[in-house]
Amino acid sequence: MARAAVLGRLTWRAVTVTGVRDETATARTLVLDAGDWPGHLPGQHLDLRLTSADGYSTQRSYSIASAGPGPVEITVAAVDGGEVSPYLARDVRPGDQFEVRGPVGGYFVWRREDPAPVLLAAGGSGIVPLMAMIRDRSASDSRVPFRLVYSIRSPAEAIYARELARRVRDDHGLDVTYLYSRSAPEGWRRAPSRIRPGDLVANGWPPELDPLCFVCGPTGFVEATATLLAGAGHPAGRIKTERFGG
């Protein structure tokens, strides 16, 4: 599967939306029937192309949220003023069609045979490819220890909150820590703030354990977090980053 997932000339394929699931007020999961999808590795993404009746087309990249096999799912957060994401996150309906190509990307990928402990650091919708890793860990009965540090502005913005709570209970060896940057739940011990060095010391892994760190989210979050990890002694080659822009 790994070879099939990264090699060969890419072509566009038509996909049909078979289901939608609201995750938060602004983020929605789309379930896609992608025909003979070749399978994917957790962390990979797909390119999505929308073409209007007059022939104008535009493309974007979206991380795959699901772990294979089964239907391909993406979770899209609406970006205000965006050209594509508001349509996908608000207007799309089951039966709608568009084109995708993929899976693509071999860099920001977790491989289930890698025994190193894993730190996942997500900012906002950067949780999506990391969720695919958490789901694949569970699907493969992996016992590799995973720690997720998930930065969001407020509790209402937590994507996959219920599934994460269930997996913390049932998937042994998964820890989840929320960092709220603007408003925390009543009585929360940590005052709202952007990610700080202590957050990664308390909730990550020391460099001596040689963990693999995946950092995904808005560019500012990713660069701040990667800088903190490097400052704590994690080598550059163990810090994998994916920037969503914003």
Partner: protein, 85 residues
């Protein structure tokens, strides 16, 4: 919109060259820095994708795509090392 990164180049580059180049090690002809293409800073997507060196911001490569054609400009890369295994 600020920059994203070289992960975004996975599809456009594979559509042209048939291999995943995001894990390949590129060497910048501006400063000599070496690193995975995935770690380049990428601006775009319109009118095209521009990848810059994370160390010196030299333009590493540019891609312009239309519905049926793509242009790839690799001006800032001295070499690209690809694992064949």
């Amino acid at each position: 919109m600020t920059h994203t990164d070289g992960n975004l180049l996975a599809g456009p580059l594979r559509a042209i060259l048939g291999v995943d180049l995001t894990t390949a090690q590129g060497t910048c002809d501006g400063c000599g820095a070496r690193g995975p293409i995935a770690s380049a800073l990428v601006y775009g997507p319109e009118p095209g994708l521009v990848a810059r060196c994370p160390s010196c911001e030299n333009v590493l490569l540019r891609i312009v795509q239309t519905a049926d054609r793509a242009w790839l400009d690799l001006r800032g890369l001295t070499s690209i090392e690809v694992a064949l295994a």
